[in-house]
């Protein structure tokens, strides 16, 4: 909690940073060293309420075209122990929340999905020109002034998180709100998640609150058998989740 005293110190710094934030000049953010950070995200399934705030916020923050998704939420229904055939739906990616479920029993939960910013990313491996790449702070980005739109990366992503922008005709995906996290802000989805189910984590920062959580809970990644080095860590991920 910020008291009035803290505020007096913070305000000038915030003002300076704010000017920069709104200026949008094409220089690297000041006071940010890439090699000091290694970004990931923590998603707590037990807290997700499927409100869709994250999808809407991401869409607004990143001008995501209608019908395409940088992040989305899936709703799972698992009949008891039938892990290999869950019933899944994601109406408009969960952007407008979810209608009432037609199921009355079994296990039901929400799973937010996004780019996993893989450390051994198969999408950057196949890009023929180097238009998509992994930064030194662990974020997989797309250079849309260089991308040819060959869509090889979209085919290579096991998680379905990429799409071709219908107007720019280049590949696009979650950028982990790189323009925010390099300025000390959190991602748009985490900022707007009302329950704290989504939390940005700097895996190189021992003081990051999520690090303690990671040390004391069992977390999973999606499709671990593909060894992509995924950095979106799920708490409470059921075995039926694909």
């Amino acid at each position: 909690m910020i008291t009035r005293r803290h505020f007096i110190y913070l305000l000038p710094a915030a003002a300076v940073a704010w000017d920069f934030v709104l200026a949008g000049t094409p220089e690297a953010a000041p006071n940010y060293t890439q090699t000091d950070h290694w970004w990931g995200m923590l998603i707590d399934i037990s807290k997700c309420i499927g409100c869709g705030n994250c999808v809407r916020a991401c869409s607004t923050e990143n001008d995501v075209p209608e019908g395409y998704f940088r992040t989305w939420v899936e709703r799972y229904h698992v009949d008891d122990w039938h892990m290999e055939s869950p019933k899944v739906d994601s109406p408009k990616g969960g952007k407008e929340g979810f209608p009432p479920s037609s199921y009355t029993g079994g296990k039901n939960f929400f799973v937010p999905k996004m780019c996993n910013h893989c450390a051994d990313s198969p999408c950057t491996q196949v890009c023929p020109v180097g238009a998509t790449f992994e930064t030194r702070d662990g974020v997989v980005l797309v250079d849309d002034t260089y991308c040819l739109g060959c869509r090889y990366c979209i085919q290579a992503c096991p998680y379905g998180c990429r799409f071709l922008h219908p107007k720019k005709h280049t590949a696009e995906k979650c950028s982990l709100c790189y323009h925010r996290i390099t300025k000390g802000l959190t991602t748009a989805c985490c900022e707007n998640c009302p329950t704290g189910a989504r939390q940005l984590v700097d895996l190189k920062n021992p003081k990051d609150p999520a690090i303690e959580f990671l040390k004391t809970h069992s977390v999973q990644v999606l499709k671990p058998h593909l060894a992509t080095g995924a950095k979106v860590l799920y708490n409470g991920l059921d075995g039926s989740v694909r």
Partner: protein, 141 residues
Amino acid sequence: MVGFVLFLVLRAHFVPRTFGQYGHYRGAAVGELSSKPVKFAGHQLCEGCHDDVLKVKSAGPHAHVNCEACHGPQAKHADDPGEFKPQLPDTAVLCARCHEANIAKPKGFPQVVSAEHSSGVACKTCHIPHNPKQMPGEKHS
């Protein structure tokens, strides 16, 4: 031979200057991508001015619900509060997004079937949005 030399010359001309700076990509792209404009201000900035709301919110169950989760992107407002005034969200629509009962929501999460709970009356009538547990208003049957 000539073709190869020509190719090298053309290549030097067309390959972007910063390519290869950090890896097999255009180095300047990192700077470009990190300097895009921000639309959500972030709760710390809101709290800088609106600490009265912060006090009310911190005492209740919405303590960790960030301002823009309900009020929408307010970076423009934070930059020029006089010029850009946020619109108050309509509680008849807003609250149901989180609190409408759904079997997939975690069991402990407060959820109601709005038709039975309030029969279409706006949530604001009985609940203060910033702290829904504080001083509930008159209940309508």
